[in-house]
Every structure is written in structure tokens, then in C-alpha cells.
């Protein structure tokens, strides 16, 4: 077993990995940018090493600095989390070259699955259905246009190195094509330093369903059932759940077997996710994520398996401690991603100081977060504040728990998407599972209605009391005797200059 893991990431996923390591008696090394010197993941690790300025390119994507931190702290393994360097084959290879365990698949597998075209070819050969598509003869605009015409409109332009919706554009008519190619290429170039595009047929109103897999280096590959991640905004997942509410036992059998076949075909090792577009009982391979996913906790909730622990075991060369027949799916789980963003302004990311931050808690409620009260949410990184994962005997129970948890989540100091998430959770089509990947886009107005007048008026009164007390420098107008215990809300922040 590895002895010391460097976590090349930040935020909630760094904390998640540090916890798993601590439970296994493995020491942890955090790395951090100048913006994160006081961040919770730095506090939680045994050791912490600064790796550069706030910009991700100069810190969390800074391969030499991270490898240097690993050697200085004598780390023998690196966990890349998700995002950042997690699907960077070159980074994985440099780890391998130095004898560092890279907690993920071997670099050639990352490289192969990182190219959308190579991945499609590999899984198609294994008999997994893929979306009809076309790779342009060259990246000249004319050739891309030609590919679009061959696939037929509506089509989808995608970045070959892409992920997370970056560099992706729907093209409904030839007239839109030129501008879309430019925009997609520019975005892909900036996000992945690779502007290569390819073309797919647009599957209309599909669901996004993905299968979690785990494979060890001893020939065992298992799946951990599916997640439905259809609810997306701007190609980013918002609410994910397991089991998929529309997945029939027959579809589950076929799609999970396809996922395992795809893994075996490419020699996959460690945790991974095969994403599919699903339309009715048909499914098409979309891409493989060769890393831990943001939404892995819903699978952990329904299977009872700790995926990060499994990653650490597999990377250490051990066998998976369970076989396919040991794995069960029980109950239901849902994850709501709390973002610092303004849903009524096209999901514009928000920054600010977390003036008050109190997580919900209770049976069946798990909150994975990497922030704390008093911390600043900056412009430098992803605007996800926390993940609220709830589970229960049935989907209804898990969803009721999610709504209760979100209503009890106190986040003051910046705009966030909790009201939007609550509106989604309560929408009849969402509750019934009658959704597709563009559902949010098409029904946006349903989810961004302002709060009722009563709620607003009560808060107007409260805001005025807060202002009045600041002006008069008074202590609490109510129970004055309680200030000594530190629970007087007035004492939370200093006086304000009006």
C-alpha cells in the first residue's frame, strides 16, 4: 500500500480524498495556490506545499511544481481528483516515469480515451453503439463544413480534447455553421490548448446516463450501475441521481455490460465512467471519463462502496475487494450541486465572502464541500460551493430529503443556485423523470421565479433591523444576556461604515 499521497487538486474533492487516505492510515500532502493558502484542504492534510500564483495554469496545472512538491515531501503516489490534471496523459506519464503511482488508469489509456475520435473507434470495435459521427479530413473550415453536411443537420460540433461542454456547439442549419466552428475552436483552444473539432449527429432530447466502472490490474472489471445526469445547464451537470428513474432492468443490463465491455477493450484500470446518450431503450457511447466524477457520491450511496478507497487499493496493485455479484443497488440517491452563480443572469458565476455558511445535516444527508465560513469565493476556480447528496429507501424520500437539506443550507454573502435547485426538485416533469439534456434551457423561466412577497417583506424588515443596529452600534435588541457565549448574531461581524 502507498504511504504518502499528494493530492493535485483543491476544494471538496481534495478533502474527500484526504479523508479516504486518513481512514486507510495513508499520509497526505496538499498543494495550494497563493489564493488557497488558508483553504480547508490545506488545513486538512498532513503536509501542504505552495505551488504558484492563483491562476490554475500557474498552480494546479503546473506539472513541474506539483512533481517537485511530490519529491520534496517524498510522496509515493498522486491523486489528481477531477478536472485540472486528472485526464492529462502527459502528467500521468511523467508520474509513471518517476516511479510515482498515478491514481488513475495508465497514461496510454488516458491518452486514447482522451481523444474523442480514438475513444469512439475503440469502443465501437468492442461492439458498443456510438453516435453516428464524422471526423473532418482536416481542420480547415471547409472540411468541418463537409463533415457537418455528411452527418446531417442538426449536428453537434465537439472538441476532440474536450469535456464539460467546453468547445461544444449545436449547429441546426448550415447558416449557423461558420460562426459555430469559430466559437467552438476558440473555446477548445483556450480550454485544452487543442482546437481540434469533430462532428456528431445530434440526438434530440436524449437523457445523459453514465455507468460507473472499477477495474483492477488483475483482470477484474466491475460496474457500479448507472447515474442519470440529464439535468444540465450550459452543458454542466446540476442534479444527478441513481438509479436512473427511467432505466428499465433490461436497459440496465445492456448498458452496464456495454460499459464493462468498453473498459475491457481498452485495458482500463482504476475508476472510470462511461457516458451514454439514451433515447428510449437505445443508447450511444458519448465519452469515457478516465477519473473520479464529481457525482461519484450518488453511486457510493446506493452501492455502499467507497470509490476513492477502491481507487487507492487498485493503484497500490491490490485486487478489488468485491466481485460483480457482491455489488447491489439499494434505495435511491440524488446529488444537487450548489454553485455560486446567478441562474436568472445566464448562470453568471458569482464571487464574494461567505459571511455565514452552515451546512445541513441529518440522516441520509451528505455534504461534500471545500469551503468554510469566512472564506472568499474567488474568480480563479470553479464556482461549485458544495454538493448535497441525499439518499433514502425510495426516490421520493431521497428527493424530499434533498429539498429539506437545501432549504436548511445557510449561505450568505453571494448569490447561489439553491432557489433554482429547489424549483427543479419541485417541478412536476423533473419529479416524473420527463426530462432531456436541454430541459433546463427550454424551461428556464420555470426555475428562476423570484420568491413570494411574504418572504421578501419579512427579509426587508430584518435587513432594516440589521442596518439600524449597525448605525446605533447597539447590541442585540432582543436577548442581551447571551452575548458572552458567542451566539449573538450581532457579534458575527464588526460595525459597518455607512
Amino acid at each position: 500500500m502507498m504511504r504518502r499521497v499528494l493530492i493535485a487538486n483543491r476544494g471538496e474533492i481534495a478533502l474527500r480524498i484526504i479523508r479516504a487516505c486518513r481512514e486507510m492510515g495513508i499520509r497526505t500532502v496538499a498543494v495550494y495556490s497563493e489564493a488557497d493558502a488558508d483553504a480547508p484542504h490545506v488545513m486538512a492534510a498532513h503536509d501542504a506545499v505552495p505551488i504558484g500564483p492563483p491562476a490554475a495554469a500557474a498552480s494546479y496545472l503546473n506539472v513541474p511544481a506539483i512533481l517537485d512538491a511530490a519529491s520534496r515531501t517524498e510522496a509515493d503516489a498522486i491523486h489528481p481528483g477531477y478536472g485540472f490534471l486528472s485526464e492529462h496523459a502527459g502528467f500521468a506519464r511523467r508520474c509513471e516515469d518517476r516511479g510515482l503511482m498515478f491514481i488513475g488508469p495508465p497514461s496510454p489509456v488516458i491518452e486514447r480515451m482522451g481523444s474523442k475520435t480514438a475513444a469512439r473507434a475503440a469502443v465501437a470495435q468492442a461492439g458498443v453503439p456510438v453516435v453516428p459521427g464524422n471526423t473532418p479530413k482536416s481542420q480547415e473550415a471547409a472540411d468541418v463544413l463537409d463533415s457537418l453536411a455528411r452527418v446531417g443537420y442538426p449536428a453537434l460540433l465537439k472538441a476532440s480534447a474536450g469535456g464539460g461542454g467546453k468547445g461544444m456547439r449545436i449547429v441546426r442549419t448550415e447558416a449557423e455553421a461558420a460562426e459555430a466552428i469559430d466559437a467552438a475552436r476558440r473555446e477548445a483552444d483556450r480550454a485544452f490548448a487543442d482546437g481540434t473539432l469533430y462532428v456528431e449527429r445530434l440526438i434530440e432530447r436524449p437523457r445523459h446516463i453514465e455507468v460507473q466502472v472499477l477495474a483492477d490490474g488483475h483482470g477484474s472489471t466491475v460496474h457500479l450501475f448507472e447515474r442519470d445526469c440529464t439535468l444540465q445547464r450550459r452543458h454542466q451537470k446540476v442534479i444527478e441521481e441513481s438509479p436512473g428513474p427511467t432505466v428499465t432492468p433490461a436497459l440496465r443490463e445492456r448498458i452496464t455490460q456495454a460499459a464493462v465491455a468498453a473498459c475491457r477493450a481498452v485495458g482500463y484500470v482504476n475508476a472510470g465512467t462511461i457516458e451514454f446518450l439514451v433515447s428510449g431503450e437505445d443508447f450511444y457511447f458519448l465519452e469515457m471519463n478516465t477519473r473520479l466524477q464529481v457525482e461519484h457520491p450518488v453511486t457510493e450511496a446506493v452501492t455502499g462502496i467507497d470509490l476513492v478507497r477502491a481507487q487507492l487499493l487498485v493503484a497500490s496493485g491490490e485486487r478489488l475487494p468485491f466481485r460483480q455479484e457482491d455489488l447491489t443497488m439499494r434505495g435511491a440517491a440524488v446529488e444537487c450541486r450548489v454553485y455560486a452563480e446567478d441562474p436568472s443572469a445566464n448562470f453568471l458565476p458569482q464571487t464574494g465572502l461567505l459571511l455565514r455558511y452552515r451546512e445541513p445535516q441529518g440522516p441520509g444527508v451528505r455534504v461534500d464541500a471545500g469551503v468554510r465560513e469566512g472564506q472568499e469565493i474567488t474568480v480563479h476556480y470553479d464556482p461549485m460551493v458544495a454538493k448535497v447528496i441525499t439518499s433514502g429507501e425510495t426516490r421520493d424520500i431521497a428527493w424530499a430529503r434533498a429539498a429539506l437539506a437545501l432549504r436548511g443550507f445557510e449561505i450568505l454573502g453571494l448569490r447561489h443556485n439553491i432557489p433554482f435547485l429547489l424549483a427543479l426538485l419541485g417541478h412536476p416533469d423533473v419529479r416524473a423523470g420527463r426530462i432531456h439534456t436541454r430541459f433546463i434551457e427550454e424551461h428556464l423561466a420555470d426555475f428562476t421565479a423570484p420568491a413570494g412577497d411574504d418572504a421578501a417583506l419579512a427579509q426587508v424588515a430584518l435587513a432594516a433591523v440589521m442596518a439600524d443596529a449597525a448605525m446605533s452600534g447597539s447590541a442585540s435588541p432582543g436577548r442581551a444576556g447571551e452575548t458572552a457565549t458567542g451566539i449573538d448574531p450581532w457579534s458575527t461581524f464588526g460595525p459597518v461604515a455607512w
Binding site: L412, G413, H416, A467, G478
Partner: protein
């Protein structure tokens, strides 16, 4: 001693009278009784309905939260002359961001909705568009520049 406040959420403004824990809002019947709770939250009672909310003060504003929904408020003494929102003809970035492209120069005539500048923050592109048909007076930014919400990027006539 009662004090009057103008409280605004940026879209609407209320005239509010605060007298200790008793609050009245102009145009609304009945008083709101606002009391701190031992758990650091607040109870607001109005017309026999009790609601619970959190509140915190930032440098220039007040935040409240109820049932997961947060709101930012500006509050000024009713006697003060300060106005909350200065509507001018300047285009600013909504947040700290990098300028990705500039689509106009001084003198450009633009239609409503035309993109003026595209900025990028948190890996997302945001076009800043003309609020109405007009002529560009001046451009104060260039591609690659890091800009703040206070920075005027484009002035319109």
C-alpha cells in the same frame, strides 16, 4: 427611538420604520417583530406568521437568507440623499474577468443587443451587449486585460 430606512434589493425599494424589535413597512399592514434566536438566526413575526431567517452584514450591504434563498439588500437612512443604483451609459464587466475580444471602436454605431466586448471568467465567455441602439463614445479596454466590476469598459453616447 424610531428610525426610518430605505431598503432596496436593487429592483424595488421599501420605506421601513425600525423601533427596537418592532418594524413597519410603508404600504403593509401590521408590524413585523424581529427577534434574534439562540441559534444565531432570526425570527420575524407578522400577522401571526413566524418565519425564520439568517442575516449578515457585508461591507456595503446586508444579506438575508430564508429557506435556502439569499438576498442582498442596500439600506440607507431615509434622510440620506444617496441613491442606490446609478444608471449611466457605461458598460462594465459583471465581475472580475479577462477581456477576450472587443467588437467596437469609438464612433461605432450599434443596434440593441450587439456585442460590444466579450469577457471571460471561470472559463466562461460572457458577451456584453448594447442596451439599446446608440453610438460608442469611447472604448477603455483591450484584449487580454483583467478588468473589475468597477472598470468602465465602453462608454456609450
Amino acid at each position: 427611538m424610531a428610525a426610518q430606512w430605505r431598503v432596496s434589493n436593487g429592483q424595488r425599494e421599501w420605506l421601513v420604520t425600525v423601533d427596537g424589535t418592532s418594524v413597519t413597512v410603508e404600504g403593509v399592514d401590521g408590524e413585523f417583530v424581529v427577534m434574534p434566536r439562540p441559534d444565531g438566526r432570526w425570527s420575524i413575526t407578522h400577522a401571526d406568521q413566524v418565519s425564520t431567517a439568517s442575516a449578515a452584514r457585508a461591507d456595503q450591504s446586508i444579506w438575508t437568507e430564508m429557506d435556502g434563498a439569499g438576498t442582498e439588500w442596500q439600506a440607507h437612512p431615509a434622510s440620506s440623499r444617496a441613491r442606490h443604483r446609478v444608471v449611466d451609459d457605461s458598460i462594465r464587466s459583471p465581475m472580475s474577468a479577462t477581456v477576450v475580444s472587443v467588437h467596437v471602436t469609438a464612433g461605432s454605431a450599434v443596434a440593441e443587443g450587439d456585442p460590444l466586448v466579450v469577457v471571460e471568467a471561470m472559463k466562461m465567455e460572457m458577451p456584453l451587449r448594447a442596451p439599446s441602439a446608440c453610438v460608442v463614445k469611447a472604448v477603455h479596454c483591450q484584449v487580454g486585460e483583467l478588468v473589475q466590476p468597477t472598470t468602465v469598459l465602453v462608454e456609450l453616447e
